[in-house]
């Protein structure tokens, strides 16, 4: 039990001695900084309305810990930051300077992909010539609207220890509260309820610094966090409920409702498409391709516009929009044509807390479309101007999505991508001459995730495409004879054809020629030893590559050395590489195949993982030596 404060905030940093000598030695181990205290106190008055007080003290031990002395407080049109202040202390804990409001800049935080946003940031960078030093600061934020409170993430960087952390949330019991905690001990929370108020309190202390390891777990598997939401929320006069996915979905649905009316001219366009295709999958394709060829992605996120779509008529006349506006425009066309189509919210990209379907909350940052047609769910990414219908892209696949309409929401899963879908198959022949020059003909097919960058490449200018090829090829002096990059309009696949004459293909040395038969797949890096591995290895992407190359050997040369074959079968994939001379010794055939499956390898198996990867690395980098007869 604890008292819920209101109004005046008692300062906690007075309890923490800024002097470095007061830090316990275990917390200094492997640390660039020690968070001496991180206190967040949230008091909600009603749906979407409340106040947050944040106070922090961090000791920066060396220059790698400096990011902790860069204060960043983001806000937007639904939040207001005030009373930001603090102090900087030297190693002995003497106050060196005070930190005041005028030490901060207030900047727009328009992301690089956006035209306009109302996100802003208050930022200040503080330094002291001698390490260690300590920075303490506090600020207040008033909220006038939100869907969900920001997650509490007391440790925001690796190699950072935490001495003491505390989160307190108090709210009217009628608001309702749910949370999920990650990487927090079980016995550190207390719940309090009195006079229609609920109080929640978490405490953390003496967490040693964690260093992230190569290929280790994603960040949110390692550090403590509390993700929370209220049952009732409100934004710009739009009240909502988050007790079920259906309720959350219907809030979004009501914001979107009535914004899917097509202008007459567009209705005629759709009518023509119906006349041509009938109500078939072809019609969906025609509508998608109409959307793709006509519109472009422009991100504008202002106020409730971060959640509510522009109207279909705005998008139809301006022909640009963000993920919501473009999805909505396509929905309008689909619905006009009589399809059962709904928008779906998803969390795009890699970074996120593990998704728990039992915990209704709003982690979403993107919208796509799902069409129910003849027992099939057809997905469409409206912001892509070239993906085939049904292909959502690797950053949208393998995850949950919330289908929604004004009548409710429904949690579903987006399509999976398997290793065999993310393929790359290469066939090449190399005509090597006795002076080390060569003519190469390389044909590569790409699928799934692997095809996305080639699809993008086909849309670039010649100059950009030329740059891509120059980076891809391991030689600088060559003459391109034929170049073609093509993406299949109907399936997630692409093809790249390169025919070129290379000036220095093999290294010449006296009477020898040397080259690496693995021409283009040298990306594998050596995995260094780590006897003290603590974290499991995460294989994140599924892929499957096959390379087949044939080398013609110049007449007066014979083979002196070729790499050994290597065949590996392991828990998370397989690898094989083999080089075979033809019977007459005039050609060499090189075959390489690698397949990887996403998975988690326990830390105690790290050495065997390392062995496998380094054997692959060595095989990939081995050479052929030819010698003059």
């Amino acid at each position: 039990m604890f008292p819920v404060h209101s109004g005046a905030h008692t300062s906690n940093y007075q309890n923490t001695d800024p002097a470095v000598s007061s830090i316990s030695p275990e917390l200094l181990e492997d640390a660039d900084a020690v968070i001496r205290m991180h206190h967040r106190k949230v008091e909600l008055n009603g749906p979407g309305e409340g106040h947050m007080y944040v106070e922090k003290m961090v000791t920066i031990l060396n220059s790698d810990g400096l990011p902790h002395a860069s204060i960043r407080v983001p806000y937007n049109s639904f939040s207001k930051v005030s009373k930001i202040k603090g102090s900087l202390y030297d190693a002995e804990g003497n106050e060196v300077r005070s930190i005041k409001n005028r030490d901060f800049d207030d900047e727009s935080l328009v992301s690089s992909f956006s035209l306009a946003e109302d996100s802003r940031i208050i930022k200040g960078d503080f330094r002291h010539p001698e390490y260690p030093f300590t920075i303490q600061y506090s600020y207040h934020i008033d909220y006038s609207g939100f869907i969900q409170l920001p997650a509490w993430i007391p440790i925001s960087r690796e190699k950072t220890a935490l001495e003491f952390g505390k989160l307190i949330v108090s709210l009217p019991a009628s608001l309702g509260f749910e949370y999920r905690k990650f990487n927090l001990p079980d016995d550190n929370e207390s719940i309090f309820r009195e006079n229609y108020k609920s109080g929640y309190r978490w405490e953390l202390s003496d967490l040693p610094a964690v260093k992230r390891e190569v290929m280790g777990p994603p960040w949110f598997q390692l550090f403590p966090a509390v993700v929370m939401r209220t049952n009732h929320f409100e934004m710009e006069g739009n009240p909502g409920n988050m007790e079920s996915w259906s309720a959350l979905g219907s809030w979004f649905g009501s914001l979107w409702q009535g914004r899917d009316e097509l202008p007459d001219a567009e209705k005629q366009t759709v009518d023509q498409m119906i006349a041509e295709h009938g109500v078939t999958k072809d019609l969906i394709e025609a509508i998608y391709s109409h959307l793709q060829s006509k519109t472009r992605y422009v991100s504008i996120q202002l106020g409730i516009g971060g959640f509510q779509t522009e109207t279909a008529s705005f998008t139809a006349s301006n022909l640009y929009g963000d993920c919501k506006a473009l999805s909505n425009y396509m929905l309008a066309m689909l619905r006009y044509a009589g399809f059962d189509a709904r928008p779906a919210l998803i969390r795009n990209g890699g970074f996120s807390f593990p998704f728990d379907p039992e915990f209704v909350h709003n982690p979403f940052n993107h919208a796509v479309i799902a069409i129910q047609f003849e027992g099939e769910m057809i997905w469409a990414e409206a912001t892509s101007s070239s993906f085939p219908l049904g292909y959502l892209g690797s950053s949208n696949s393998n995850r949950h999505a919330l289908l929604f309409s004004e009548t409710g929401g429904e949690l579903v899963e987006t399509p999976k991508q398997s290793p065999s879908q993310n393929y790359q198959k290469r066939n090449a022949s190399v005509n090597l001459n006795s002076d080390g020059t060569a003519s190469l003909s390389i044909n590569t097919e790409f699928g799934g995730k692997q095809h996305e960058h080639i699809r993008q490449l086909t849309r670039e200018s010649n100059i950009q495409q030329d740059r891509y090829v120059r980076n891809l090829l391991p030689f600088s002096l060559y003459e391109m004879q034929e170049y073609s990059a093509k993406a299949d309009p109907a399936t997630p696949s692409a093809e790249l054809i390169l025919n070129l004459d290379v000036e220095t293909f093999a290294n010449k040395l006296g009477s020898r020629l040397m080259f690496q038969p693995n021409l283009l797949e040298r990306g594998q890096t050596y995995v260094p030893a780590d006897e003290d591995r603590k974290q499991p290895v995460y294989i994140r992407y599924a892929y499957h590559y096959i390379d087949e190359l044939t080398f013609n050997i110049p007449e007066e040369f014979s083979i002196e050395a070729t790499p050994d074959s290597l065949n590996l079968d392991f828990d998370f994939g397989s690898y094989s590489a083999k080089i075979t001379p033809s019977d007459d010794g005039r050609t060499l055939h090189y075959y390489r195949e690698i397949a990887m499956t996403p998975g988690i390898i326990p830390a105690d198996k790290f050495e065997s993982y390392r062995n496998i990867m380094n054997n692959i690395w060595k095989s990939d980098n081995s050479q052929v030596v030819l010698v003059k007869n």
Binding site: A116, H128, S511
Partner: protein, 673 residues
Amino acid sequence: MRARILFLIIILSFLCWPASAQNILEWGDVSLEQWEVNSFENDENAHSIILFDVGESYVDENIEIIHKRHKRIKILNPDQSDYTEIKIPVYDDRSVQRLRNVSAQTINRGADGEAVKIEVEKDNIFTENSDDWEITSFTFPALEPGSIVEYEYEIIYSNPGALPGWTFQHSSPTLHSEYRVLVPDFLKFSSYNYGYLPFEQTDDDDKHMNRMSRYYNLAPSFANYTFFRTVLKDAPAIRDEPYVTTLDNYKNQVKYQLAGYTNNDGLYRSYMSTWDEIADELLGSHSFGKSITTRRSLRKSTEEIIDGIDDEMEKARTIYNYVAENVQWNNKYRLSTTDRAHKILEDLSGNSSDKAILLISMLRSAGLQADPVIVSTRSNGNVDWNYPTPRSFNHTIVLLQIKDTILLLDPVDDIIPFGILNPPSINGSGLLMRGDNANIVDITPDNLSSVRTASVLNLDSTGNLSVQLRSNYHGYDAIVHRYLAEQEDQQTYLEENHLENAPGSEIEKFELLNLDDSSKPLTVNADIVNEQYATVAGNMIYINPFFKDRISKNPFSNPDRNFPVEFNYGTNKQVKTTLIIPEGYEIVEIPENSSAQFSEKTGFSFMHQVAGNTVQMLLVTVNNEIMVNADRYEDLRNYYAFLTEFFNQQIVLRKTDDSAEVLMETETGQSGN
């Protein structure tokens, strides 16, 4: 055959827009030629082509500058073009700059070839304030491939001396860029042209001048005018390349400088006509020269810092170290100081000039001669020395003179040793301001930078390689490596910068000496073992003897370049390598002694000598030609291609037939190795 077809296509697409046609049109008027523009030479599927970009500046009746711009772009690929979203930044102070009359529209070609215009509505023009800027942004509606977009705006500059310049090259090809300036004769401006492409000869200037003087609100009392008109046609896109200072340095530009004015009584007053006057003004300014102070509090602090030191150079070094280490640089290069020197000393933080001015104040307080030298950092662009203005500069360094010894000091960052310039400051010349005189001083560094490496590579018959590596870094090479070593943990630093050719090395010993003492060379000592560096195949072993500082890929992969290659600094690398080959092996192939010269200042040589089972190698690469003009780019690219090929060579070893001897030697041990 294929090449010929492509060539024909280029010719045809060229014919689509004859250069003689009238290509600047009124708002909303589109010519047939403009509809047909769809390609540019050597940039066949450019995402957009700037049809014209026309600017006009004039002085109005309020003696303010009115700057108008009208830009029209052909959008060939709406999805990828850089010109579909426009951001116009102006300085966020309405008493200095104001943006007005922003209009933008899309022009599409209708079914019957008519122009369909869709305006950007006011509601869809956004304004945000950030830092010191007010940014106005908008995007064009209803774009389709082949749309023409245009926008215009006006910026009012309250100070007529702020007459803006013009940049003629962009990230998309530009068919026609033109800038016209009409100023009354009582304001005298000088104009300066820059760039690597030839400007057009203009012949109908009078027509333009008359039109401007007729249409715009000029004060009737301005009897006579001066008119400038600058035109560039068919400028290719300019894009980033390796080894550039800042792309702005290579774009065609014109700049203006107010040279003087005639007052009401007809008296001409020259304005900033000499560097001496610039210096005079700066030294008298509160935000520069007046920040220098030797007041008592500062003298006292200085005396405490140099207490007990007699030698003048040592005094200077101690003061320099104090300012470089203890005053926090806010990461901003600025010419103007934010406060007087004693205040900076109290706050222990400031911008680049605050630190330099504090250093000068403290050196003078110690009785030493120190004066400011203003410079423009590399990313800020070049200074045109024909064009006396303080506007080009963004940083101050310090010239210290002790008897006949002159040193340039640059205290921004403590990574920079006493007497060496911070690399961004090395940008040709600076302006020394001493007393009443201003002098342009050369700040090209001497050949201070070098790397000396001595290594022993000991190879055994199973292919195991043990390496003892010792490298000394001097000058800028030391600065760069200190910086790299600070950015990473030590093992990563070693792996990425010394063992980059030898992944999988086991590090047995690693020392980084003098990391914190920038007055000494940085020394790297490492003992490593690597099992996979050499390739063993049957009775052969292959090993690349260039263990370190190898150029394995040509940085100049692009076959063409229109502007110079600029290296950060000159350097001299010398690598002595001793390779001990395993007993019982003989050398079959070894890279030949060779040398290559790019120029007098840049070249390379390699020599080796075999004695018994030991190979001694000496490799010297010198790169002291820090700027190479575009006309020698192909030579430079070929020189690097040669180096790349050279460094990829290996030594080939073969087991000798006399295996009895091998056995015996193995038994007697190899302690000598």
